[in-house]
């Protein structure tokens, strides 16, 4: 009788241990599976994201650059305010910099960028749908003289970049506040 009880007790302990191990294994597997799924989803979005540069215009009077970007990928890019905009001056004296997004105005503040809307009543100003184009306006402060070219890098929120050479800058200049 006592042998049977001990056997049942041992079997119960063994089964409990096995179930606990199994649960732990399952939780780890789920966490790993989630990480792989999210990571591959982000990678897929990156592969489907692409930007191209259209027109580039220099506003020498306001020390500003207007850069047209075209969403040439298959993903909508949102929000546009999540873009990163960087400017450097190859062979020049002005310091390379990352520009801050300026939400309120049209990018005339120093070292900021904003979206210049072609039509103020645009329905989705903060989403770049595939095939659509938006103009980024950059206001700069360039105190060092004789830099005439710049290189602008624009990055999407998921890290896809496009670069463009900009010529015709007249320095020194500063965007109006």
């Amino acid at each position: 009788m006592s042998v049977t009880l001990v056997t049942i007790l041992m079997m119960g302990m063994f089964l409990t241990g096995f179930l606990m191990l199994w649960q732990n294994f399952n939780l780890n597997a789920v966490a790993l599976n989630d990480a792989v799924r999210i990571s591959s989803q982000l990678e897929r979005e990156r592969i489907r994201t692409s930007l191209h540069v259209g027109n580039v215009e220099v506003d020498t009077e306001n020390c500003a650059i207007d850069l047209e970007i075209i969403n040439s990928g298959l993903e909508a890019i949102a929000p546009i305010t999540g873009f990163e905009v960087m400017v450097s001056f190859p062979g020049g004296s002005n310091v390379p910099r990352i520009l801050e997004h300026e939400g309120g105005s049209e990018g005339s503040a120093v070292d900021t960028w904003s979206i210049k809307l072609a039509d103020p009543s645009e329905a989705e100003p903060s989403i770049a749908r595939p095939g659509s184009s938006h103009t980024i306006r950059m206001g700069l402060n360039l105190p060092e003289p004789s830099d005439t070219t710049a290189f602008v890098i624009v990055s999407t929120p998921n890290g896809v970049t496009v670069g463009a050479d900009v010529t015709g800058i007249l320095t020194p200049c500063s965007a109006t506040e």
């Binding site: 780890n28 990480a35 999210i38 990571s39 990055s155 890290g159 970049t161």
Partner: protein, 124 residues
Amino acid sequence: MEAANDSVVRRIGTDVEILGVASDSSGADIEAWIKNVGTYSIGPVNSVDVFLITPGEGYSALLYGQAGLPGTWREYPLGASWERGEVLSLQIVIPQDFPVSAKYHILRVATPNGVVGEATFERW
């Protein structure tokens, strides 16, 4: 086992993208912008490893240093965090033995948990 699993999960979810590198051949400074495109924050920032590689010429492991000495790097602004979606600005001062005559170089950045981002750049 759970710790090992957590470590693997964090590694899968960690990713960086070097957005741009600005390097003037007349100066000793290199500026780089690196975005955290993963799902976790990365840190501490001073534990990030930064390497400059010149193919066929040399390889430099840079030290973290806020004083701006040759062969060091620092984040800008100092003390910046590196949360998900944030761009980390790096200011690098090239080492004294850096092959300045070579035009093309590679910037390699490794997060504290070993995820690597790499970009080729040209000194103007």
